[in-house]
Every structure is written in C-alpha cells, then in structure tokens.
C-alpha cells in the first residue's frame, strides 16, 4: 500500500506515492535521480548519505521517505544555491581549494555536515570541526585537509558577511 508524500527538495516541491519501507536515500537517488547523495555503510555510521532535513544534518539511510513527508531538504545538488553567489557554496569551494577530497565518496555528506556546523557556529575551533564531523568517515584524506577546507569556508563566509 503506497503512501503519498510531499517533500521540498532543493527548493522544488516533489510529490510521490511511495512504499512505506522505502528509505529516504533511495527516494532521493532512485525516485528523484539525485545520485549525489551516496550510500556508504547503510548502518548509520559512515555519514556518506548525510542531507539537511529542515536544516539539520541527518543520515538519509536511517530515515524512511514517509518520515520526511512535509520536510524541507537540501542535498549536495542544491547546496550551491544556498551559497547565494551563483557559484559554489563556500564549503564546496573550501574542499576544492584545500584538497578536502581524494576519491570523493564521503564528500557530499562531509560538506552537508560542515554546512550545518557553520550555520550554528560560524567560527568553529579545530576541535569543534572534528567533533561535528565525527559522524562522517573518510578513508582517503586523514581528515586534516577536510578540517582545513571547513576553516577556509568559515573565513570565506565571515568575509562575505562584512
């Protein structure tokens, strides 16, 4: 038996009838075709599937699509629009400038978790960045360049506000 859900994804209202057991990550990837949200561990540990749900970072593999009914969602595809300058979001730019990725698999989730951090805490200390990203695993970078990327973004966003 299907359930009709309505979700605003990256500023666009989407409506579908879904099976209750459909995981939100599969809804994004298979129904909406937004494959930028990656499936990693599928056990709520790795954070590759992180998206913003009503502004909060959540693991979309541990969320039913029906639970997201009525929510406002941002995925990596919609993030640039949040940056407000027509180009990349400052966090994306940070990952580009500071080599915050190698294989790139964890990157969309990493970036969205970092965006939530910077919204709440625009000037995070290194330790706060590491703690905010504790739910996102990276097997390439050793994390240092990711921390650098977030610091770059924080500075850039602070400069933009002046």
């Amino acid at each position: 038996m299907g359930v009709v859900i309505q979700v605003r994804v990256n500023g666009k209202t989407r409506q579908h009838e879904v099976e209750p057991r459909l995981l939100f990550v599969h809804y994004l990837r298979d129904v909406l075709g937004l494959t930028g949200t990656h499936i990693g561990c599928e056990t709520s540990l790795c954070g590759a599937c992180t998206v913003l749900l009503n502004g909060k970072a959540v693991k979309s593999c541990t969320l039913l699509a029906v639970q997201a009914d009525g929510a406002e969602v941002v995925t990596i595809e919609g993030l640039a629009a949040l940056g407000g300058n027509g180009g990349l979001h400052p966090v994306q730019e940070g990952f580009w400038e500071k080599h915050g990725l190698q294989c790139g698999y964890c990157t969309p989730g990493m970036i969205l978790a970092a965006v939530e951090l910077l919204q709440a805490n625009p000037k995070p200390k290194e330790e706060e960045i590491r703690r905010a990203l504790a739910g996102n695993l990276c097997r390439c970078t050793g994390y240092q360049h990711i921390v650098d990327a977030v610091q770059f973004a924080a500075k850039k966003m602070a400069a933009g506000k002046r």
Binding site: V58, T62, L63, L64, E116, A132, A134, G135
Partner: protein, 293 residues
C-alpha cells in the same frame, strides 16, 4: 539493506496512537526517531507487520519546568536536550549525557523516549536517568502511570512498559545548589556506543561532606544499574580524591552479570567500570565545589 514491508500509520495525537497500538497489539512497533528501530528493521532483526510513527505527535516534543521538576516530552531529540538552556542550568547531567551520544546526525534524529523504551544495554541515557532518580511516564488507554527509573529497566532490551503503553514523558529533578554532575564514557570506537558509561550526581553539604550521591552505570551489564555500594561508601564522608577512588572500586557488585563481547571482555569492562566511575565522580565533585564557592 531494505526493511521488510509493513503497514504504516502516522497518528497526529497520542489518543490516536494508543488506539492504533491497541488495535494492532504485538504486531505493531512504535517508531520515534528511528535510530534504534530502523537499523534493526534493515538488518531484518525486526520485521513488524505494522509501524506506528509517533513523529507527527508534536505535543510530545517539549522541555518545561513543572512543580520543581523538568518534564521532557518523549519525542525530544538528543540535540534538543543538549541545547536546552533550562536543562543546562537546572539539570546539566542530561545535556552532558546527550553530548556523548552517537554523532551530530544521530543526535538530530534520536529521541529520549525512543532510546529509553528501546533499553539498549549500551545506551547512554539509562545511566543518567538512574542517577537522577528520574520518573518515566507511560500512557495507555486506561490513563497514565509513573515509573521510577530504578524499576523501568528490566533486562536487555526489556523495560517495565506494558503492552498497549507508550512512553510519553521523562521527569528529572531541578538539582539543588552545591550539586555537580558528570557523564564519562568509554566509547566503542566504531559504533560510538558505551563500552562503559558512568553518570554521577553529587551534592556537597556542610564541611565539604557528601550529602547525597548517585551513580548510574550503563554498558557493563544487560541492564543499566545504580552503583549502590559506591554511593554508600561516599555518603556522609568528607569528599577527597582518595575517598572517590576507594568508593569507585565498588562499581561492579558481585551479583552483576557482566557483558562480554569482542570489543571488551567481562574482566576489562569491570576494570573500566571502576575507572570511569572514579572519573565521573571526580568531575562531579569538581563541579559541585566550583558551585559552592
């Protein structure tokens, strides 16, 4: 990893949820934040025929002061507990504990009611609610009843909730002046669950004597418990580092059945229970002393 198919209900009120629960009985599972239930369903360790999603019952999401206690709605997320100015000032042990749960994403979805009702032996909140002598409110079609934290945890993944009951609220005390609290935890590095978690609450009386103390331990045994022997060894005595260390040695009583797995043997858990009890007590004491001044 896809859950087995189920029938889905999303009631908007507690009354509607209770009616659904009565109708579907043991075939139904209650879904709150989903961070305990959904992983089990994805692994097909749970395959309920019916899922009742409590997530739309906004009336169960609050933190407010009532009659000298702080009432927390069951659907309050760990992040909301962590960020609550009311709890941070008047009952900081809960935010201190929420800070150690999982990671940001987990804290954004997981709920206090869901975590307590699931009663994972390695969950964090059980230690804190025991140390706080919290009350847990359960609603059913017949009305509500209030359970003490000490009687709530029955066994591994088993609570005193009856069929047809929904956990609706947790009540914790406003801590008196001169009280310090702390939650110290040995994380399982992959999952973030507690190999050992110790919650301490300590009130200093006149002359630096321990007026009242409570210690809750999680991760050590099939269910969280109060370390009564530790409390007894401290109460009424003048607090000192040496006294805390002596008392912490009683963290694991003889009759406790110790958990053992590939991450931590029973022997190691027992040793760490002592260490983390001591650390939690030391932090609680330091905070109690700084408030006294």
């Amino acid at each position: 990893m896809i859950p087995a198919a189920f029938e889905y209900h999303a009631p908007k009120s507690l009354e509607e949820a209770l009616r659904l629960l009565n109708r579907h009985g043991s075939e139904a599972k209650l879904l709150a934040g989903g961070h305990s239930l959904l992983p089990l369903m994805k692994l097909r360790l749970a395959a309920p025929r019916c899922v009742i999603d409590l997530g739309r019952i906004h009336a169960l999401r609050y933190i407010r002061e009532e009659n000298g206690r702080i009432a927390i709605g069951a659907l309050t997320t760990h992040t909301e507990v962590l960020e609550s100015p009311l709890l941070r000032t008047k009952c900081p042990l809960l935010p201190q504990t929420a800070w150690e749960i999982g990671d940001v994403q987990v804290r954004n979805r997981g709920t206090i009611g869901g975590s307590l009702a699931h009663a994972d032996p390695a969950a964090d909140y059980p230690a804190a609610v025991l140390a706080l002598d919290a009350e847990i409110v359960a609603a059913s079609a017949d009305g509500t009843r209030t359970l003490r934290a000490a009687e709530f945890f029955v066994d591994m993944l088993t609570t005193a909730l009856l069929p047809g009951e929904i956990l609706t609220e947790v009540r914790v005390p406003v801590l008196p002046p001169g009280t310090g609290t702390a939650y110290r935890k040995l994380h399982q590095p992959a999952s973030g669950f507690a190999i050992v978690g110790a919650a301490a609450r300590l009130t200093l009386g006149s002359g630096g004597k321990v007026e009242r103390v409570a210690v809750g331990l999680t991760g050590v045994a099939p269910k969280a418990y109060r370390a009564a022997a530790v409390e007894k060894a401290l109460t009424g005595k003048k607090a000192s580092e040496k006294l805390l260390a002596e008392a912490a040695r009683h963290a694991v009583p003889q009759d406790v059945e110790l958990l053992s797995d590939l991450h931590a043997s029973a022997e190691y858990r027992k040793a760490m229970a002592v260490v983390f009890t001591r650390r939690a007590l030391e932090d609680a004491l330091a905070r109690a002393q700084s408030k006294k001044r």
